[in-house]
Symmetry: C2
Subunit: 144 residues, 2 copies
Amino acid sequence: MSERTMEKIPREESLRLLAGTAMGRVVFTLHALPAVRPVNHIVDDGDIVIRTHMGAAITTAVSGHDTVVAYEADAIDLDDHLGWSVVVIGPARVVHDEQEITRYRRLLRPWVAGSMDHVIRIRPELVTGFRLVAAGRAEEPADA
Amino acid sequence: MSERTMEKIPREESLRLLAGTAMGRVVFTLHALPAVRPVNHIVDDGDIVIRTHMGAAITTAVSGHDTVVAYEADAIDLDDHLGWSVVVIGPARVVHDEQEITRYRRLLRPWVAGSMDHVIRIRPELVTGFRLVAAGRAEEPADA
């Protein structure tokens, strides 16, 4: 297999990729330890919105003000090692507004039945994305 | 789609699932912010071994003693919402032994050509795994 190089993805394209995929991993701190959970998401008005499905772990962690979390999504092919990854870092807050909650409950179905259900909104202050491309592709002529 | 429930996966089976997949996400703290990077890995003698491919971010974070990181891998089908996720938490250390490094360089090929290359070993002290299964499956008879 030929080698891969990394290309940065601009912020707007990174957010589009995130909006175009249904799943990612929310990263936070729980009891002073790093924690990570796979969840499904939507992108709404530029924010990442998730519903917790694994108990109150995440909501407990972000119930303070401006708790900063990371959110990562990727699509990397394990055979050809081509793909992309996007990481967003920003403050997360639990949504309390009943109308908002009702709307997100329609838009975002959690994977797991009957689990604790909080809606969390992450504001993407820092957005970094990269693409794994075949080494040398950047040097090829545009019509190759 | 029928609803899903979560089943815990025991430690040994979780580590087997991790060993059977090539990719995961390492979660650490960088400049007091949560950080997450997709990487490929191997499981060696019960430890998770990765090679950094995104600069020195992770190795800087774990160059202290007993820096605790998380490592997550999953295989969740976006269509039928069945699959599993495993999260390992434990101390990470940069491998300095030249023989070990040479061995891991043979076993573990990074995705990206020519990038900074450190080998990091994570000891899985805390292992949690869950499986998303069709709701009610647990109640079905074994010969169903």
